[in-house]
Amino acid sequence: MIYNRLSVFRAERGLSRKDIAEAVGVNPQTIGYLERGDYAPSVELALKLSALFEVAVEQLFSLKPFAPLAHSLRDQES
């Protein structure tokens, strides 16, 4: 299982699934499958997506579940 924060980054940038799909050359449905965790991307697609959001690939994908955003913010403040 590969976890990702695709929906968080997508919402932050105000992009639609179609926008992302066109940028990385896949079907918009594939972005939906990725966001739901129903599909693990190839290395190529993971790298394309991380390049699109200008983040390291491990910030976008992980083998362990990501901590909720609220927890991360609370940890930063304390």
């Binding site: 699934r17 179609k18 079907n27 449905q29 594939t30 939906g32 499958y33 129903d38 991307p41 190529e44």
Partner: protein
């Protein structure tokens, strides 16, 4: 066979539930329609009911043939993305197993019924004329075209729209 329209070059996006209903109509109505025509004898009503069921099944196939899910099973690899290719390959493998099983059972049935009839033991129905064979081949062609899509439709959860 994928029917591409100008309005939907990537296939008509149908809900997974709709595709499942169309597949059930196709797989239930076609054989039922053929059997009704077979047993109709002199009954015009039964014959017409059989024809109506086959027409309904073919109409369901016509809608399925233009759907985005069917496109995924029929499109050249270069026009699919990595997820679609992976799903299609898995579905084709499963569909091949099911199709081979159905054909093997059919051949075994015909072999046994022909053998039993030749020995005068039991005379079960088996295809004897061109109409029977046409109906069987028509069904097998429809099945081979739609089975990978059926594996996809019944095997995955629908994705909500953006």
């Amino acid at each position: 066979m994928f029917i591409r329209s100008k309005a939907h070059p990537f296939g008509r996006p149908l809900q997974t539930g709709t595709v499942r209903i169309l597949l059930i109509v196709l797989y239930a109505f076609y054989p039922l329609g053929c059997i009704l025509q077979l047993v109709a004898g002199g009954s015009v009503a039964l014959g017409l009911a059989g024809v109506a069921l086959v027409v309904a099944a073919l109409a369901a196939f016509a809608v399925l043939a233009g759907s985005s899910l069917h496109r995924q099973t029929q499109e050249p690899e270069s026009l699919l993305d990595e997820r679609e290719r992976e799903e299609r390959n898995r579905a084709s493998f499963q569909a091949h197993s099911v199709f081979s099983g159905i054909v093997l059972i059919g051949v075994l049935y015909m072999m046994l019924t022909a053998d039993m009839a030749a020995n005068g033991k039991l005379d079960l129905w088996r295809p004897t004329d061109g109409t029977h064979w046409n109906a069987i081949f028509g069904g097998l062609i429809l099945l081979s075209f739609t089975l990978p899509g059926a594996v996809l439709a019944f095997g995955k959860a629908p994705v909500e729209a953006d």
